[in-house]
C-alpha cells in the first residue's frame, strides 16, 4: 500500500500517471525522462527485463509487484529467437516465471521469482490468511510445487502428487488455492490448471481497455498513424495504465509498427 517515495527518484525514466503526480513539475519530468523513442530497443534480455520492471506503472488502488508482458519484451529486444531462448534458460535457472494470461491469445507475463513470491504472500493474506481451514496447502504449494514445476500449467494428477508430499490433499485445498488466485482454469483444456499471478484483475482489464483505446485512437486518424512522441503523451480515458506500457505491448504483438521519419518515429497500425 505504501509506495516508497524513493521510487520516484529511483529511475528517472518513470512517469507514473496516478493523481499523486500532479505535484511534480512538468518541466522536470520532461527533462529527466527520456522518451520511448530513445529507449526502444536493447541488446540484452536481462537488461531489458530489469529496465521494464522499473518502468512498471504504479496504480494507487492496486498494489502489484511488477511484471512484464512477453510482447513488451519482443518489442524491446531485436532478436526474438534470442529472447525466447534466454527466457527459457532463465526459467530453468529459476530466476523468473512465465504465466499465460487469459486476455487474448498467446499473452504471457514474465515475473521475477522473488516478486512472485511476494505477490503470493500478499494474496494469501488478502484471501483469508493462514487461519483458514486447510491453509497448510499454501506452504505445500510454495515448497513443493513452485520450485519443481517450471511450466505455465500443471495437470490435476501432478498437482495432487506434488502437494501430497506435504500431506493429504483434498479438494478443499485446491479450492483454497484457486480462491487465492494462484491457480486458474482456462477454456483450452478442462484437465489442466494454469499458474497465475494473483490479484492482477484490474491491471488486465486496464490492459485490454487500453489496447482497444490506443488502436481506436490510431484508427480514427486519417493515415492511421501518429508520432510516437505525441502518442506517449496522450492520456487514456478508460485505462489507468501507462501509455508507454501499452505501446510496447502493441508493438511487440505486431499490431502497431514503427516507421522512421525525419521528425522521429511514427506509430502506425499494421495492415496485414
Amino acid at each position: 500500500m505504501t509506495e516508497p517515495s524513493s521510487s520516484y527518484s529511483l529511475s528517472s525514466k518513470k512517469r507514473p500517471r496516478s493523481p499523486n503526480d500532479n505535484g511534480e513539475h512538468p518541466l522536470d519530468r520532461d527533462q529527466i525522462c527520456p522518451s520511448l523513442e530513445d529507449n526502444l530497443t536493447f541488446n540484452d534480455t536481462m537488461i531489458a527485463l530489469q529496465l521494464m520492471r522499473t518502468q512498471f506503472p504504479k496504480l494507487e488502488k492496486v498494489v502489484v509487484q511488477p511484471f512484464i508482458l512477453q510482447s513488451q519484451l519482443y518489442s524491446s529486444v531485436k532478436d526474438r529467437t534470442q529472447v525466447d531462448r534466454d527466457l527459457e534458460s532463465f526459467k530453468k535457472d529459476k530466476v523468473l516465471r512465465i504465466f499465460k494470461l487469459s486476455s487474448g491469445q498467446d499473452d504471457h507475463a514474465i515475473m521475477f521469482l522473488d516478486d512472485y513470491l511476494k505477490q503470493v504472500a500478499f494474496a494469501i493474506k488478502r484471501s483469508g490468511g493462514k487461519e483458514q481451514d486447510g491453509s497448510e496447502v499454501f506452504d505445500w504449494f510454495e515448497k513443493y510445487v513452485i520450485p519443481s514445476k517450471l511450466d505455465v500449467s500443471i495437470n490435476q494428477l501432478q498437482l495432487c502428487s506434488l502437494l501430497s508430499q506435504g500431506g493429504d490433499v483434498t479438494d478443499k485445498h485446491i479450492t483454497l488455492l484457486m480462491n487465492a488466485g494462484l491457480l486458474t482454469r482456462q477454456l483450452i483444456d478442462p484437465n489442466i490448471y494454469w499458474f497465475s499471478i494473483p490479484r492482477i484483475g484490474p491491471i488486465l482489464k486496464g490492459l485490454s481497455q487500453g489496447r482497444k483505446e490506443i488502436l481506436s485512437l490510431l484508427n480514427r486518424k486519417k493515415y492511421k498513424g501518429m508520432l510516437l512522441s505525441s502518442l506517449e503523451k496522450t492520456k487514456l480515458r478508460l485505462s489507468p495504465l501507462d501509455t508507454r506500457f501499452l505501446i510496447r505491448d502493441l508493438i511487440g504483438s505486431g499490431q502497431i509498427k514503427t516507421v522512421q521519419t525525419p521528425t522521429g518515429l511514427l506509430a502506425r497500425i499494421t495492415r496485414d
Binding site: 506434488l162 511487440g252 496485414d272
Partner: protein
C-alpha cells in the same frame, strides 16, 4: 559478387554443388511477382491447394472451393501476349459439371507421387476421389465420416500407396489405392484433423496436426502414435545439446523414445513426458487410478500435450527430414526438431494467420526460407533466425496455399481471390554490381574507355 563465383567455378576453386547452391539461394532471394508468366485460372472459387508433380516438376494441380480441380503446364505457355507475358491456360479441368465430380469445396488436391497418371482430390462433400489424368475419370472413391480437411501421400513410398486423410472426425484414416479399402484407422486425437504430412525420411511415418492443438507422430507399422510434440519441451539451438551427465541423459530420454530397441527396455507411463527426473520417483510411488502401464512405444490418448494454443493449421517438413514446421491458429509458427521432438524456440516475427482453414506452407530445399501465407500476403522468413526476409503482396484477398518449385525457384500462391500468382526470381536490367567499387554508380551502358 556473381561474376566472382563464376570465375571461381571456372578455376576450380568452387565446387559444382556449392556453385549450384549459391545460385539457387541468390535466385530465391530475389523473388518478385513474375512479369513473364501468369496462369489463367478457370476457378470460380478460392484456390485451396496447389501442388506441382514430384516426378518432373512440370504440372501444377490446383483445387478450389467451387469443387473444381485444374492442371496447368508450368513449363510451356499456351499463348504469349505480345511476346512478353506467357499465359498458361489449364490443360485439364474437372468441376461440378463432371459426372462424378465433387459437389463442394476441394480442400486438397495432390498428385500420385510416382507419376502423373493419377491424382487424388479430397473434398468437403466427405469423399476422397482418385482420378485418372488421361481419361479424366474417377477410378476410385472413399467415403469419409466427415468433411475432409487434409490428404497426403508419402513422396518416398515404395511399398505402399496409402492416402492419409484427415477429416472432422477424430481419426486419421489411411486409404489404399491398390485395394480400394481403408487399411488403417489411427486414433488419438481429441478433435478433427486439419493437417497431415508424411515424413521425408521414412515412408512409414506420418505426422498429423489436429484442431486440439496436438501434433502426433504415427508409425503405421505399429499401433498408436509414438510421439506427441509438446511446446514446453524445448531445446536451445538447432540440435539438442550433447549429453554431458546422466541426469541430462534421463531428461532427454523422457522426451520420447527413439526408434531403437533401447526404448523397449525402459518403462514409462504416458504422463512422464512432463516430469523432471527427480519427480519421476514420486510419481511412481503414488499410484493414481488413472495411470496405466502402457507399452513403452505407445503414447496414450491421455497425453494431452499441445504444440499450439489453438488448432494446428499447417505442417511441412524440410526436405532432409530433420525439422518440422507447424503453423497454428494462435498465429504462431514453430520449428521442431524431429529427432528429439523438441521445440527449437525459433521465434518467427509477429504474423496473423487465418484460423479456420488449413494452410499450406512451403520451404526451400536447402532449408533456408519458409514461406507462410499471412492474411493477404505471403511472408518469407529465414528459418533459423525467424527474421522476416520478404513480404509478398499481390493478392487481393486471403492467401491459402503456396508451393515452392525448387527447380526454377518459383513460388506459386493461391488465394481467395481465385487467382494463382507466380513469383519468380527477378532479373535485374543489367548485371549486378553490388560490391564493385570500380563500377559503383555507373551502369554498364555508361561505361567507356575512360571510365575507371
Amino acid at each position: 559478387m556473381w561474376w566472382e563465383e563464376v570465375r571461381g567455378r571456372e578455376r576450380g576453386e568452387l565446387r559444382a554443388g556449392r556453385f549450384q547452391a549459391a545460385a539457387r539461394a541468390r535466385r530465391a532471394a530475389s523473388l518478385a511477382l513474375s512479369n513473364s508468366k501468369e496462369f489463367a485460372t478457370p476457378h470460380h472459387g478460392a484456390v485451396n491447394s496447389l501442388q506441382v508433380d514430384l516426378t518432373e516438376g512440370r504440372y501444377l494441380l490446383s483445387g478450389a472451393s467451387d469443387g473444381s480441380a485444374a492442371v496447368f503446364d508450368a513449363w510451356n505457355a499456351t499463348e504469349c501476349q505480345s511476346g512478353f507475358i506467357a499465359k498458361h491456360k489449364h490443360i485439364l479441368l474437372v468441376d461440378k459439371q463432371h459426372q462424378n465430380g465433387h459437389r463442394f469445396t476441394i480442400s486438397a488436391a495432390l498428385w500420385y507421387p510416382v507419376d502423373t497418371g493419377l491424382f487424388v482430390t479430397a473434398s468437403f462433400d466427405q469423399f476422397v476421389k482418385v482420378w485418372d489424368t488421361n481419361s479424366t475419370q474417377v477410378i476410385m472413391d472413399f467415403k469419409m465420416p466427415g468433411k475432409v480437411f487434409a490428404a497426403a501421400m508419402s513422396p518416398i513410398a515404395t511399398t505402399h500407396m496409402l492416402i492419409a486423410t484427415g477429416s472432422a472426425d477424430v481419426q486419421v484414416r489411411l486409404c489404399d489405392i491398390a485395394s480400394g479399402a481403408f487399411t488403417h484407422t489411427l486414433s488419438g486425437h481429441r478433435d478433427g484433423i486439419m493437417s497431415l504430412e508424411w515424413s521425408a525420411s521414412s515412408e512409414w511415418i506420418l505426422m498429423s496436426g489436429g484442431c486440439d492443438g496436438a501434433i502426433r507422430f504415427w508409425d503405421i507399422r505399429r499401433a498408436g502414435c509414438f510421439r506427441v510434440l509438446d511446446q514446453s519441451q524445448s531445446q536451445l539451438g538447432r540440435r539438442p545439446p550433447l549429453l554431458k551427465s546422466t541426469t541430462e541423459n534421463d531428461h532427454i530420454d523422457s522426451l520420447g523414445p527413439s526408434t531403437s530397441t533401447r526404448s523397449l527396455a525402459q518403462k514409462r507411463t504416458g504422463n512422464s513426458k512432463k516430469n523432471s527426473p527427480t519427480l519421476r520417483k514420486s510419481q511412481k510411488l503414488t499410484h493414481g487410478p488413472m495411470q496405466q502401464r502402457l507399452h513403452p512405444g505407445l503414447s496414450s490418448s491421455q497425453n494431452r500435450a499441445t504444440s499450439h494454443y489453438g488448432a494446428v493449421t499447417g505442417l511441412r517438413t524440410t526436405k532432409d527430414g530433420m525439422y518440422l514446421l507447424s503453423s497454428g491458429s494462435d498465429s504462431r509458427l514453430r520449428l521442431w526438431d524431429i529427432d528429439s521432438g523438441c521445440n527449437t524456440l525459433v521465434n518467427f516475427e509477429a504474423m496473423r494467420l487465418q484460423t479456420g482453414k488449413p494452410l499450406q506452407l512451403a520451404v526451400t530445399d536447402d532449408p533456408s526460407i519458409v514461406f507462410v501465407p499471412c492474411m493477404a500476403s505471403i511472408k518469407a522468413y529465414n528459418i533459423w533466425s525467424g527474421t522476416t526476409f520478404r513480404t509478398f503482396r499481390g493478392h487481393y484477398e486471403l492467401v491459402n496455399c503456396c508451393y515452392y518449385r525448387e527447380q526454377d525457384q518459383e513460388l506459386y500462391t493461391g488465394s481467395n481471390d481465385r487467382q494463382i500468382l507466380v513469383w519468380s526470381p527477378s532479373t535485374p536490367a543489367f548485371t549486378e554490381m553490388e560490391d564493385d567499387e570500380k563500377r559503383h554508380g555507373l551502369s554498364a551502358a555508361d561505361e567507356d574507355n575512360w571510365s575507371d
